[in-house]
């Protein structure tokens, strides 16, 4: 599980797991994302890099359903899908870890892991009784499986360290793993120190398994090159290039980010 799996390219029907075609989105006069095509293969880690305002986060939010595109198409396994709300994307097996982590500081670890999908019995839906004991048991098992060190699932998330919070967010995202599971991560290590960041990177490597594909935004290019199979470079809302993480270099990435064209490599 720890060794880097090679992307096996095509799924059962030959199409990539997730495809974006001609995605556009503007905010007022600003073209946040413009005519972007992306393919995400099964079991792949795709890094997305780019300067501030390059459209990385907007692109991810479009996949997660919290921002709707002005035009363009999203396909899963070659079939067009409709993602207009966060509920839609969750139903399709897409989980997003936001930069702000979207954790509830006032709730305990177990409640954060299960939020929105709590096991209940008795009455239906909102009035159902929470199976708190089961939530704690399963959350503890999940943390153990992922090698996450947190004292108790009863701790409120607000008292955890930055790295622990990040890991709770990751645990929540992979807790309900299904086929064709896609994990979107926005700057998972931005707010972390070196040690914590290394632990989180280790965790990301660990969780990549059968059927889990990851898209990851990061400013730390060496880290992305280390983790990802392919790296996609964005500039001013456009998809500039996609590079093979093993054959490219930090310099090449930086040049693409700054100049937006591979020709710049020679001048540098």
């Amino acid at each position: 599980m720890n060794e880097r799996a090679t992307p096996n390219g095509n799924g059962s029907n030959g199409a990539p797991l997730l495809q974006l075609r001609g995605i556009c989105r503007s905010f007022g006069h600003v073209r946040a994302v413009h005519e972007v095509d992306v393919d995400l293969q099964r079991n792949e880690i795709l890094g997305i890099v780019g300067d501030n305002g390059a459209g990385k986060s907007t692109l991810m939010k479009i996949i997660a359903g919290t921002v709707s595109p002005d035009s363009g198409q999203i396909l899963m396994n070659g079939e067009p899908v409709e993602i207009t709300t966060a509920q839609d994307s969750r139903r399709l097996g897409i989980e997003m870890i936001y930069q702000d982590l979207a954790l509830f500081d006032n709730l305990d670890v177990a409640a954060n892991v299960f939020i929105g999908r709590e096991p209940t019995r008795g009455l239906p839906s909102l009035l159902g009784f929470l199976e708190r004991r089961r939530m704690h048991r399963e959350a503890a098992a999940l943390l153990q499986r992922l090698n996450i060190m947190i004292g108790s699932t009863r701790l409120p998330v607000g008292v955890l360290s930055g790295g622990q919070r990040q890991m709770v967010a990751i645990a929540r995202a992979v807790a309900f793993e299904e086929n064709n599971h896609i994990l979107l991560m926005d700057e998972p290590s931005a707010a972390l120190g070196a040690t914590e960041s290394a632990t989180v990177t280790e965790l990301i490597r660990d969780i990549r398994g059968d059927g889990l594909s990851i898209m990851i935004i990061s400013h730390r290019i060496p880290e992305v090159l280390d983790l990802a199979d392919r790296v996609m470079v964005m500039k001013r809302g456009e998809h500039v290039a996609t590079l093979d993480a093993r054959s490219t270099s930090v310099e090449e990435c930086v040049n693409l980010i700054v100049a937006g064209a591979p020709a710049a490599t020679g001048q540098a």
Partner: protein, 338 residues
């Protein structure tokens, strides 16, 4: 972060100060403080007014506090979800007035009660709509509703309450809350059941958990696909419905009420009880247990001060000081308002 390792060998004082600090920071302080306050109230009032400890008086206190408990249950959900609903007292007035007028007009009491409580649903729906759709801060939205519901209540009873010629009703079913159940005042029984149901709802169900989630971090709620707006709406409707239920119980106890029957300061007492009980103003924290203790503190205070011969208005001062004390302790714990 909470693991504080004492550097010195634990001497007598450091153990105690450590314990005190743990207590302050554990959040259980609210409970301990309130418990101590209630005990102190019992001691002081039983000395100041010998009649205080009689069964009759304690049951009377329960009867008088029932309405506060019912309205505070709704306010607890509202405030934990991040919405301070200050329209409660006027929704109570509206509910009681509507119920009274319908039963006076000769319709069955069941219809009157239903309409009374439905008025709270309506007020809550409007509050929810204003907050969720018009994006108005709940404090402002419910301040507006405070005026609107009060005005509507006056329209419904034609100002009869102010003029002092409000007609009472002798309808036994509508006035059911005047009765006792095996010697215990019915409003007290009802309030206890109501608070227990509120406790189960808040602590045990998904509805309750989401109250904390929405109040703690609404934007995270949206990110994890909780229907935040619909939930906010529900908590405001619940709050309105509780206020309306309280309004009916009051009206039923009085044998009919009008717009002027509910003192405007009642909602402040409700908020004081809820905040005394440890519900944070910013949402996301608090328990029903705390609210129940907060209600008992204020209910006993009111009864005891009256019995001891202190004019009602001294209660305002004590209530205000209690509120400051409670929030001051909370501010010590959390670092307070910046």
């Amino acid at each position: 972060m909470t693991a504080v390792v004492p550097e010195d060998p634990p001497t007598e004082t450091s153990v105690w100060s450590q314990r005190l600090r743990d207590l302050v920071f554990s959040g259980k302080l609210t409970w301990v403080t309130l418990g101590a306050v209630i005990v102190a109230e019992f001691v002081v009032f039983s000395i100041a007014a010998p009649r205080f400890l009689s069964t009759t008086n304690l049951l009377n206190t329960g009867r008088a506090t029932a309405v506060l408990m019912i309205v505070a249950t709704g306010a607890t959900f509202g405030l934990i979800s991040g919405a301070l609903d200050i329209s409660g007292a006027s929704v109570m007035a509206l509910s009681g007035t509507i119920g009274t007028q319908i039963v006076i007009a000769g319709y069955p009491a069941s219809l009157a009660i239903l309409a009374a409580i439905a008025s709270g649903f309506g007020a809550g729906l409007v509050n929810g709509f204003v907050v969720v759709k018009l994006r108005v801060n709940p404090l402002v939205a419910t301040l507006g509703m405070l005026g609107i519901a009060y005005g509507l209540a006056f329209v419904v009873d034609g100002g009869a309450g102010i003029a002092g010629n409000l007609r009472q009703t002798t309808d036994a079913a509508y006035g059911v809350m005047k009765n006792d159940l095996v010697g215990i005042p019915l409003p007290l029984v009802f309030a206890v059941l109501f608070a227990a149901a509120g406790w189960v709802l808040l602590a045990k169900t998904r509805f309750g958990l989401y109250t904390y989630a929405v109040g703690g971090n609404a934007s995270a709620g949206r990110s994890v696909a909780l229907p935040v707006d619909r939930l906010r709406m529900m908590y405001l409707v619940f709050s309105g419905a509780c206020a309306a239920t309280g309004g009916w119980v009051l009206s039923s106890t009085l044998g009919g009420s009008g717009a002027a029957s509910v003192p405007g300061t009642l909602i402040l007492t409700v908020i004081t009880a809820v905040i005394l009980g440890g519900v944070g103003l910013m949402g996301g924290t608090g328990t029903m247990g705390g609210t129940i203790l907060g209600v008992i503190v204020l209910g006993v205070l009111e009864n005891g001060m009256t019995l001891a011969g202190w004019p009602t208005f001294y209660q305002y001062v004590v209530e205000g000081l209690l509120l400051l004390l409670a929030v001051g302790l909370e501010a010590v714990r959390t670092g307070g308002y910046r």
